[in-house]
Structure formats: structure tokens, C-alpha cells
């Protein structure tokens, strides 16, 4: 009995010590990093949560911002014009998509004479890339390749906190990408800032220093909206972030709708199974 309780006490002390070391270790480590904390703020998105849906008007505005501003430097090579009219997307009509596609020149061929030729775009064509290859993109942008935007909203994460990570799956937090892109576009510092030797001062940039390779891409009034929405950087960045989330996850609405049905079905099935199992075991002490 005494040896037992002694052992137990020993164990408890060991756990306590290990815990203390862990906490001390982690605070020390975080203290060293605390010099720069990127200012990333969570936003309310229409596509968040179990019943989330894209706001079609917002996606159309976001596409306009992408097309008139972003696409000058960024490719979006996995998205086709036809995607713009598919279910769960910006909701352009097929006629509108054809017209949009026809505004770009696409290289095709070879023809019967073995020559490549240019033709107007078709709905089945991918979005055109601004540079022929990464080397050309690099040369034109001070040595930094503007990343492809097809998956950008899923390829950036701002969420590292040990306190929220364990419950984020329950809260269904999957909007870290648009949150980050929105924050980046809204956190350019004063243009005469002397903080950065290379890059541009941006207090949302996830890096060791607040210096981001991309100059401020957009300013108030740069893109004209037809639906009366505000023509501000804040609104532009909100719309383009939503558009990028759609571009990265075009099946989001279908996924969430299917998921709701599947989970309801599984819960009903599990309940039936539970009562069946209980009935089977009713007369066995276990």
C-alpha cells in the first residue's frame, strides 16, 4: 500500500515536472519570435460554415478585379473560362462566358502547314498566363515569380496558434487563405516607409520581417463596379479573396451540400444500429 502510493506520488511529480519544462520551453521559444507578429484578421465570409455558399455578385466583382489587376502578373492556369458558368461559381451565363473567352488570344496548332496560329479564346480554354515561363515572370518582377493563383487561397495559412488549432476542425475554420489574402492587401504601410531594404512594407506578411515582394497592387477607384458596390481597396480585396477561394475550391458548395446529407444519413443509420445492437445485447450482462 505504501509503496503503491509512493509510486503514484512519484508519477504525479514526474508529470508535473515534464509539464513545467514543456511550458517553460515553449514560452522561451515564442519569446524569441515575438519581434514581429503579422496582423491577420479573420473575416466573415458567405462561404464559411456548413451551409456556406459563394456570393455570385461578389465572385463576379472579384473576377473583374482579378482580370483587370492581378492577371497582369499572376497566372491562374488550372481555371478555364467554362468554369465561370458552372454550378456553384460566379454564375455567368454561357453566352457571357463565350464573350469573355473571345476577348483573349490563344495559341493553337499546328495547322495543316505545321504552323502555330492564334485564335480567339473558347469556353474550354484555360485562363491565359501573363508570362511564357517562370523565367520570364522572374525577369519581369525583380527576381520574384508571382505565384500561380489557381490554388493560392488554399496554399497560404495564417493559423498556427496552439490554442485554436485543436478546435478549428469543430468550428470548421477553413478560410485562413482568404483571410490572409484580404489582410495582405489591406496592410500595406506608408509608401515612404524605410523599414524594408528589399520588398514593400506590409504588416500582414507572414515572414520573419514585414517586407513583402509584391508592391501595392491596387488603389481606390481603380476598378469600376457596375453594381454600385464601393470602389475601395477594402471592397476590392474582399471580393478578390472570395474569388480566389472559389478558384481554389470550385466544388465547395457541392461538397458542403453533399456533406450535410451524408452526415444526417449516417447519424440516422447510427441511431438505428445503436438500438439494434442494444436489443441484441439486451439479455447479456456485459
Amino acid at each position: 500500500m505504501t509503496s503503491l502510493s509512493k509510486g503514484a506520488a512519484l508519477v504525479r511529480q514526474a508529470v508535473l515536472a515534464a509539464g513545467l519544462i514543456l511550458v517553460a520551453g515553449s514560452t522561451w521559444a515564442t519569446a524569441a519570435e515575438e519581434a514581429y507578429e503579422p496582423a491577420i484578421t479573420k473575416q466573415l465570409w458567405s462561404f464559411a460554415g456548413p451551409f456556406g455558399k459563394f456570393d455570385k455578385a461578389q465572385l463576379q466583382r472579384g473576377y473583374k478585379v482579378y482580370k483587370e489587376v492581378c492577371s497582369n502578373c499572376h497566372s491562374m492556369k488550372f481555371v478555364s473560362f467554362r468554369n465561370l458558368s458552372q454550378a456553384g461559381g460566379p454564375g455567368f451565363t454561357e453566352e457571357q462566358v463565350k464573350a469573355l473567352a473571345a476577348t483573349v488570344k490563344v495559341q493553337d496548332g499546328p495547322n495543316d502547314n505545321g504552323e502555330m496560329f492564334e485564335r480567339p479564346g473558347k469556353a474550354s480554354d484555360r485562363f491565359p498566363s501573363p508570362f511564357a515561363n517562370p523565367e520570364a515572370a522572374k525577369a519581369a518582377n525583380n527576381g520574384a515569380v508571382p505565384p500561380d493563383m489557381s490554388l493560392l487561397a488554399k496554399a497560404r495559412s495564417a493559423e498556427k496558434s496552439i490554442y485554436t488549432w485543436p478546435i478549428n476542425w469543430l468550428l470548421q475554420y477553413q478560410e485562413y487563405g482568404p483571410d490572409y489574402i484580404y489582410s495582405l492587401l489591406n496592410h500595406y504601410g506608408p509608401e515612404d516607409s524605410k523599414v524594408c531594404e528589399t520588398g514593400y512594407y506590409n504588416t500582414a506578411y507572414l515572414g520573419s520581417r514585414p517586407c513583402f515582394a509584391m508592391p501595392k497592387p491596387i488603389s481606390d477607384g481603380q476598378v469600376t463596379y457596375d453594381d454600385g458596390s464601393k470602389e475601395t481597396v477594402e471592397q476590392y480585396s474582399r471580393d478578390v479573396s472570395a474569388f480566389l477561394m472559389w478558384a481554389a475550391e470550385p466544388k465547395l458548395e457541392e461538397r458542403k451540400e453533399t456533406g450535410f446529407k451524408v452526415i444526417i444519413f449516417l447519424i440516422v443509420f447510427a441511431s438505428l444500429l445503436y438500438f439494434t445492437k442494444r436489443k441484441i445485447w439486451a439479455n447479456v450482462a456485459h
Binding site: N83, K154, G177, K251, L266, Y274, K277, I280
Partner: protein
């Protein structure tokens, strides 16, 4: 498979078949009449859950392979093609990727259940070792599967893990070149990983059959950790265990579905949505969560060969576990001291997992070293000693008695 079959062929065809291939009686004896301890709790349903996960992974993997292209120029694009264009491709791909995580969740619960209730002890040593072989094959399969989307984490994970073999003295770098089929991870590596990723699950299925065979020879362990004494202590596998297993599996799939449909990228790394770039390593690379404890052990040792040996040693020690634990009592229910050390091991293992995801600097390194040391001390020092110094609680004489004690001596109706 033990004892005389209770199967009675009903029809003339069954009698005809039974004489030529007794497959119905084999299935009957293994999954219908098989005597199952009646006191099994829900932790014993993870065997069935794991079978379901293996089936799910093979099924979704097989159809994904119909659309995937194992070529470094198009692999990343072919995954996007699946996600965007293939009918239900997003479901199959998210189901397969999250399936790997849920397979490992289930296997870790299954292993820790075995640790708690002493399921590795005589006469179940071979059963346990077969399980460990399955675990190793799962890790190999999971690792190679993660390489296939050819994102940044795929590429750099493959680079780091294959480089582990360069720690082998003299022949290390030749072995790594051989693994790669080139001078770095590249197209030949991707192709062979795809081939092996398709092959290994069938090897897993083969070892699972051996695992189940061994289980049916020695019988299932149970929460009391004592062998069934009479038919009073057991129930037939069907419908008792089957109904419970199916129920638990469906509940498991509710949580699984939540991840597939609502947080499909939760367990993944955002960097893997960037196509592999052999010229730039991501700022912070880490393996998938299920490898993190082993990754933490690897990093905690400041010597290359030592780190690799410790990492593999952390799994090797599990293979000899049946001979390290000197206690004759199986279940932690009757081992008051072991029970506490078990929970410390759980905390240390989860802690190592967390540390594996932290940057290798400062206090994290110190904590990783302490936790790694404790992990090995648990198996190599504490377990052998514990059997000698611990005074177990008195064991019940039978499973029925254990059930009565649990239910407060009342003839229970639950």
C-alpha cells in the same frame, strides 16, 4: 479455427461445396460462431473500424489511380484535374487523403488499447508482432502516398525521409541514389513510389489476414485480461460483436465525413498546394501529423545516424515489447502502478507529436530530448522493473465475475 466447427451445411449445394472447399464453415467459424468475450468495450471495435478503413482506402485509391498520372510534369495537374473535372473527384480525393489520417487515428487507438490491456502478452506475441508489421507497412504506404500529389511538402518530405538512409555508414549515399533512381528526388522516384503505394495496401491486407488468423487461434483479449473459462464468459461473434462493430464503424464515419466535407484540408499542409519546386524548400517543413512523434525523436538527437537509429528504435522497441513487460497480469485495470505510467506514456507520445510540429530550436529541443528519453525509459526500464515491484489487485476468477463486479453485483440489464 480452433476446435470443432459448429457449422452444419443446410442445403445440398452447401454439403457439396463443404467437401471440396470448406470456405463457408471457415467464415462461419471465424465471424459467426467465434466465441467472443462478452465484456469487450468499445475500444475493441477498432479492429473492425480498421478493416473498414483499409477497404475504403483501397476502393478510393483504385479509382483515383484511374485519373492520376505518375509523372513529375503532370502529377500536380492531374490531381487538380481530379479535383475540378472528374465526376465526384473532389469527394474521392478528399476521402482518400483524409482516409489516411483516420486510418492512423484508428490504428493509434487500437495500439494504445493493446498497451493498456496487455494484449501483447503471452500467448498473443505473434498477433502483436503481426500488428506492428501492419503498422510499419501503413507508415510506408502513407509516406509514399503523400508524395504522389507532387506538391512542395510531397517533394521535400520525400527528400528528407529518403535522406534518412544516407545515415547508414559506407553505403548510405549509394542506397539513397538507388532509392531515387537519380541524383535527387525526381520522376523515377515518383513512378516507383506510385507503384509501391499501389502494391503495399495489398500486402497490408495479406498481413491483416495473418493477424486475424492469429487472433482466432489465441482468442481475443478482454478488459479483464483473463481467459474465458466457460461458455458463460463468451457470446457468439455474430450477432453480438458484429452489431457493435458496425455501429461503432458508422459513428467513426460520422466524424470522418465531417472532415471530408467540412474541413478537408485540416490535416493537410497548405504548402502542398504549391507545385513541387526542387530549387526552394518551404520555410517550415514537417511530415503529416501521424509521423510527428517519430519526427520529434529523429530531431531530438544531435547526431545524424543516432537520430535515425532512435527513430527506428522507437518502433523496434514495440516489436520486443512482449518480452520487456515482466508482469504476468495483462489488464491495467488490475495494475495500479502500470496504469499511471500508461497515461504518462500517452501524454509523452502526444507531447512528442506536438513537439514534432514546432521549430527545432530553444526549449522545444530540450523538451523533445526529455520526452524521447522518457519514451525509451518507459519500455526499457520501467516496464521490466514494474512487473517485479508492483502488487497487482486481485484478479477476478472469471469474466462473468468481472462483469458482475463492474455492474455492482446486480444482474444487469444494459
Amino acid at each position: 479455427m480452433s476446435g470443432h466447427s459448429t457449422y452444419v451445411p443446410g442445403t445440398a449445394f452447401e454439403r457439396w461445396l463443404e467437401k471440396r472447399l470448406p470456405i463457408i464453415s471457415l467464415v462461419h467459424d471465424s465471424f459467426v460462431s467465434f466465441p467472443t468475450p462478452k465484456n469487450l468495450n468499445y475500444f475493441w471495435t477498432f479492429g473492425a473500424i480498421l478493416s473498414a478503413m483499409l477497404g475504403w482506402q483501397i476502393l478510393t485509391g483504385m479509382v483515383l489511380a484511374m485519373h492520376y498520372a505518375a509523372n513529375d510534369a503532370v502529377a500536380f495537374a492531374s490531381v487538380e484535374h481530379i479535383m475540378r473535372d472528374v465526376n465526384y473527384g473532389w469527394l474521392l480525393r478528399y476521402g482518400h487523403a483524409n482516409g489516411a489520417s483516420f486510418f492512423f487515428i484508428a490504428v493509434y487507438i487500437h495500439i494504445f488499447r493493446g498497451l493498456y490491456f496487455g494484449s501483447y502478452k503471452e500467448p498473443r506475441e505473434v498477433l502483436w508482432i503481426l500488428g506492428m508489421i501492419i503498422f510499419l507497412l501503413m507508415m510506408a504506404t502513407g509516406f509514399m502516398g503523400y508524395v504522389l500529389p507532387w506538391g512542395q511538402m510531397s517533394f521535400w518530405g520525400a527528400t528528407v525521409i529518403t535522406n534518412l538512409f544516407s545515415a547508414i555508414p559506407l553505403v548510405g549515399s549509394s542506397i539513397v541514389t538507388w532509392l531515387w533512381g537519380g541524383f535527387s528526388v525526381g520522376d523515377p522516384t515518383l513512378n516507383r513510389f506510385f507503384s509501391l503505394h499501389y502494391l503495399l495496401p495489398f500486402m497490408i491486407a495479406g498481413v491483416v489476414i495473418l493477424h486475424v488468423w492469429a487472433l482466432h487461434v489465441v482468442g481475443q483479449n478482454n478488459p479483464a485480461g483473463i481467459e474465458p473459462k466457460s461458455t458463460e464468459d463468451t457470446v457468439p461473434f455474430t450477432p453480438y460483436a458484429t452489431s457493435k462493430d458496425v455501429f461503432a464503424t458508422v459513428v467513426f464515419f460520422v466524424i470522418f465525413a465531417w472532415f471530408i466535407f467540412y474541413v478537408p484540408n485540416y490535416t493537410g499542409d497548405p504548402d502542398n498546394y504549391i507545385e513541387a519546386n526542387p530549387l526552394a524548400t518551404p520555410a517550415h517543413i514537417e511530415p503529416e501529423w501521424y509521423f510527428l512523434p517519430f519526427y520529434a525523436i529523429l530531431r531530438s538527437i544531435p547526431d545524424k545516424l543516432g537520430g535515425v537509429l532512435c527513430m527506428f528504435g522507437a518502433i523496434a522497441v514495440l516489436f520486443v515489447l512482449p518480452w520487456l513487460d515482466t508482469s504476468k497480469v495483462r489488464s491495467a485495470t488490475y495494475r495500479p502502478l502500470y496504469r499511471q505510467f500508461f497515461w504518462i506514456l500517452v501524454i509523452v507520445s502526444v507531447g512528442l507529436g506536438w513537439l514534432g510540429a514546432q521549430p527545432p530550436e530553444g526549449g522545444y529541443v530540450i523538451a523533445s530530448r526529455l520526452f524521447t528519453a522518457y519514451y525509451f525509459i518507459h519500455f526499457l526500464v520501467i516496464l521490466p522493473l514494474l512487473g517485479l515491484i508492483e502488487t497487482p489487485k486481485p484478479l477476478p476468477t472469471s469474466i462473468s465475475e468481472a462483469v458482475l463486479a463492474k455492474n455492482g453485483h446486480q444482474p444487469a440489464h444494459t
